[in-house]
Point group: C2
Amino acid sequence: MRIGETAAAAGTTAKTLRFYEDRGLLPVADRAPNGYRDYPHETVGRLEFIRRGRTAGLTLAQIGDILSIRDIGQAPCIHVRDLLVKQLRDLDAQIAELTALRATVAEFHDAAAAGDPAACDPERICSYL
Amino acid sequence: MRIGETAAAAGTTAKTLRFYEDRGLLPVADRAPNGYRDYPHETVGRLEFIRRGRTAGLTLAQIGDILSIRDIGQAPCIHVRDLLVKQLRDLDAQIAELTALRATVAEFHDAAAAGDPAACDPERICSYL
DNA sequence: CTTGACCTTCCAGTTTACTGGAAGGTCAAG
DNA sequence: CTTGACCTTCCAGTAAACTGGAAGGTCAAG
């Protein structure tokens, strides 16, 4: 697969793939005889994994760490396991933080819902925001 | 409270408070006769709220939206409620994304835990990372 | 009455994650 | 055999969220 095709399949851009290669999130791609990058199909899945991590608020560095562990497959190394444990703890903390924030926002919403919507003229843009 | 004191109480810096004021996340502070900013004690809580939002991966713009809704108190306006509903949906999506990611990382961890830790010489730095 | 720890404004630099654009090579289609 | 849509490298710019530093004002303590 060529770069543009791969990028489109993963919902991103060719520029971004080159950038990820540069940052080590994608392995250096094979080249066709004409010099074009040639990607295996599984790169699409890898890009989707990166996108999910980004959506979840992980940095490229964090995602890169996880991917490099995945890449070496069966890794008995204790350092690798420690890193994964740390990643799990970080993810748990982040999820807890978001959950608490959600509760707070839900309170604001309930308070706002208690007001009378008719007090706001639907023709006008809300003057508060 | 002066700026440094307020910042310290919230675990941040005076620089950051001025920056937040500039971005509209903090109301323009009152000034003492000497020109120093004078903060009420509740600013600490507001800063903690901002920090929680940042930790959870919200942008300052998103946090600012939530705060401006909170600031107007009882807001019956339908636009405000729509915005809060959207924030809740966004938070739910982000939590779901993170939870899925956590499950994937847990799989990596279980796979790594299946290996033999003795295969890694504890004297050496892990060659994989 | 000076030292040091505060504070003020303003402007420039940093990091992260792209994004745009120049200058040029490749190749299937008309 | 040229046009257009790809691709290549390289370098510069952008947005977000700070962070640092210069130049100078304020004020309690020694």
